[in-house]
Amino acid sequence: MVTLAELKGQKPAWCPGCGNFGILTAFRKAVVEEGWEPWQFTIVSGIGQAGKFPHYTMCNTFNGLHGRTLPVATAIRLANHEMPVAAFAGDGDCYGEGGNHLLAAIRRNVNVKLFVHDNQVYGLTKGQPSPTSLVGMKTPVTPSGVTEREFNPVSAAIAMGCGFVARGYAGDTGQLSELMKASFRYRGFSLLDIFQPCVSFNKLNTYDWYKQRCYHLEEDYDPSDFDAAFERSREFGDRIPTGILYRKEQETYEDRQPVLAGQAPLVKRVGKPSGLEKTVEEFA
């Protein structure tokens, strides 16, 4: 059985107190509880502080380009649909640079787990606004405050029919770890948006700010109710719910793709294909 110690990677280059540490703790715990060996799953990450995530644990890793986690993760999963694949991205990476890929990933419903480190600011490039920054937030490039309305990722995902939409908070690693496990166990594309305080560049959305607002969805909350889920996903003010907002079993891409459904992964079927003679005949 894999242990927490075995999931320790490189020494993190995050700032002391960074919300990312909570995400790392929750993730390691979830992986130990799932019993995955480091070589049995793959993490794809992009660029930003979240992009460094896989280096700080132990796993197969493709740390690619800014905004491009989802296309890479999708294709890894299509080439090997027995491999658990997660994508770790920041709010700028996934909701900004890679926005189009998010829409396509929800539509495709390939079994990829998306975890977004949402700190509502750009950290690595030092404090510019992100798609989730609140209107009016002052940053070096918005000295009079952010003018664009903030993107609500959970509402957008529910509206598009994403079958697993959840919100967690890096300061609540117990719940976060459970949300990660639930996401792993869900068949299909899932979005877990994780509030993650940036102690260096976001002086507005601090640990205190999140602590005052975040509350767990009630035990009797029914995540299968689309209308209720959409309504709760829009609650973003004095109180913000965390937990599984929406959950619905639905057919995955892998179920619908005739080359994959019920068959061995592509990676086990390499080599020159059969049936070439038949295709040659078509040219006759």
Binding site: T61, G64, N100, L260, L266
Partner: protein, 584 residues
């Protein structure tokens, strides 16, 4: 015997159906064939044509004189009548185009009426046209029936079409008393293949298991062919949300352990540029097809040009090796796509296949496809071999610079790679020493190995030529035929480059010697500024004194190229105007 049929009309009238059907008939008849398409960027209307040349000897390019013009619209007659050869005829349907043409060269064929009367549907007028052409040529109508039988699956549809084909055939055979066509006898049947099909088939036969692309002319045919054959050959084909996703998906699939390819044209390739750099840094194998069309920007979406050679060569930030191949025929496409997969897997460097609309959309006849030509070597660490290792480092330093490429999940070691500079394990680093070692590994150590694989250009024609025609990619056919035409009166040869980068080292003394000793070396390119000539000068210092450039979006025809070459041979050199209109 060397005949050309031209089918002209508006988009949506069935030009491709007629062109494709006749091409297949002629190939099956045993003739050698070259067909190409000229179409506009629209779904309906405008003016398009499909031109088929067939002969009893090798044909590799388009010619200008047309022997039978099938005019499906009124515009085809004024546009193409001037192209009719000495023995040429035009056929049209006066009921369709609402006009009549006098003169013995114009034959009014009631194609729509035959279709309605014999087949019951006006769309079968296209079959009547095919029949009429066969009748005028005096070929056997049975071959047309065979081809219809392979394309039309529904029994009733097939039977009606055969009736229409026969009616068209009878009409053509009896209503053109002056037709003097003497087609050669039937020979053993040949196959027909288009450039895009050759690229796609080459990829499938080379073990490509993943193809991701965003539709873009003229590369879309590859996507369609791959998708149409995905189930049979066990390939995942995914239409990506954009070209950025397409290249990143190909890299993801490759990282996971399967051979992957993507394809696009210039504008899409521009979006893939960050991805080729990612392939370079992560040393992830990938084959990219760049099917050129005239630019800049949207340019001529459906036409041809060779202007992206240097773009493909230099695309991507940072320094990393790559290979660039440009096939000039289906046979070269098979060989080079297969080689592209071999090189990308063996050395973990991206390989670009550079084609263009002329290669992509043209059709050739083939004697057959030898499947043994597709070699397959698995260079990856898999299963027991990977599992048996005591440790594994994805980017381990080795003498060749090539690190073993393991398949994640198949052994008890993690596989880690990064777009950041990384250490041997694949983790982010910042130190100067590792950086230098990694650049040495990726660039300086691997490059010489890739270079060794590159073959010299193809020399065709005279042994010690006085005149050398130099070119690359899709100009292969027209240059070769130009050499055949001029060979009797000139010591002339063709030097065709299909493995463009790394620039060939092998045989360099010989081919450079040929160029330097020649009285005249002419660089022939479908572009304005001589992209290959620039590469040649950069790599060898050789400067072409003469060049033939065509950048109107159309391919060279044999006659067009011969005229240009003869201008150079007779000492007539075109001068360029010094004036710059519009600049104050």
């Amino acid at each position: 015997m060397d005949y050309t049929i031209k089918v002209g009309g508006a988009a949506g009238q069935g030009i491709q159906t007629i062109g494709f059907t006749l091409s297949k008939v002629f190939s099956r008849y045993g003739y050698d064939l070259f067909s190409y398409q000229d179409y506009e960027s629209r779904v309906r209307g405008g003016h398009n044509f499909y031109q088929i040349r067939f002969a009893d000897s090798k044909v590799l390019c388009p010619r200008e004189p047309v022997d039978i013009l099938v005019a499906l619209d009124a515009a085809s007659i004024p546009l193409h009548s001037g192209e009719l050869s000495d023995v040429g005829f035009a056929i049209y349907d006066s009921e369709d185009i609402k006009e009549t043409h006098k003169g013995r060269r114009y034959i009014d064929v009631p194609m729509s009426r035959m279709a309605l009367e014999q087949g019951g549907s006006k769309i079968m007028a296209n079959t009547a046209a095919c029949g009429a052409v066969m009748g005028m040529m005096g070929m056997k109508v049975e071959l047309l029936q065979d081809v219809l039988a392979t394309t039309l699956k529904r029994k009733e549809t097939l039977e009606s079409n055969i009736k229409v084909a026969r009616a068209g055939y009878e009409f053509g055979n009896t209503n053109c008393p002056e037709c003097s066509f003497r087609p050669a006898g039937q020979a053993s049947a040949k196959m027909t293949i288009e450039g895009n099909e050759a690229i796609a088939f080459g990829a499938i036969a080379s073990g490509c298991k993943f193809y991701s692309a965003y539709p873009m002319t003229p590369s879309t045919g590859i996507l369609t062919f791959m998708a149409g054959h995905a189930e049979r050959h066990g390939i995942v084909v995914e239409q990506a949300e954009d070209e950025v996703a397409a290249i990143n998906m190909a890299l993801g699939a490759s990282f996971a352990g399967v051979r992957a390819m993507t394809g696009t044209s210039g504008g899409g390739f521009a979006l893939m540029v960050e991805g080729i750099s990612l392939a370079g840094m992560t040393e992830t194998p990938v084959v990219m097809v760049l099917a050129q069309r005239p630019g800049p920007a949207t340019g001529f979406p459906t036409r041809t040009e060779q202007s992206d050679l240097l773009f493909g060569l230099f695309a991507g930030h940072g320094e990393f090796p790559r290979a660039v191949f440009a096939p000039g025929s289906p046979e070269q496409a098979f060989k080079l796509v297969s080689k592209a997969f071999d090189i990308t897997e063996k050395y973990q460097v991206p390989v670009i296949i550079l084609t263009d609309q002329h290669l992509a959309d043209s059709a050739w006849s083939l004697d057959g496809i030898d499947l043994d030509h597709f070699k397959y070597t698995d260079y990856r660490l898999r299963g027991a071999e990977f599992a048996g290792l005591t440790e594994y480092k994805r980017h381990a330093f080795t003498e060749s610079g090539v690190s073993p490429l393991a398949v994640p999940g198949e052994g008890p070691h993690v596989v880690v790679t990064d777009s950041d500079e990384h250490d041997e394990e694949g983790h982010i680093v910042e130190d100067a020493e590792t950086r230098t070692l990694m650049v040495d590994k990726r660039y300086f150590k691997k490059l010489p190995h890739v270079k060794i694989e590159i073959e010299p250009p193809l020399l065709y024609g005279a042994e010690e030529p006085e005149v050398v025609l130099v070119g690359w990619g899709s100009n292969y056919g027209v240059m070769r035929e130009a050499v055949d035409s001029l060979g009797a009166d000139n010591r002339i040869a063709m030097m065709h480059f299909s493995e463009l980068y790394p620039f060939p080292e092998a045989g360099r003394a010989k081919f450079m010697g040929t160029l330097e000793k020649a009285r005249m070396a002419i660089c022939i390119e479908n572009n304005a500024s001589g992209r290959f000539a620039s590469l040649m000068r950069m790599e060898t210092g050789f400067k072409f004194e003469r060049a033939i450039h065509k950048y109107d979006g159309r391919p060279f025809t044999l006659e067009g190229l011969l005229e240009e070459i003869n201008g150079h041979l007779s000492g007539v050199k075109r001068t360029k105007a010094g004036m710059v209109p519009g600049v104050r």
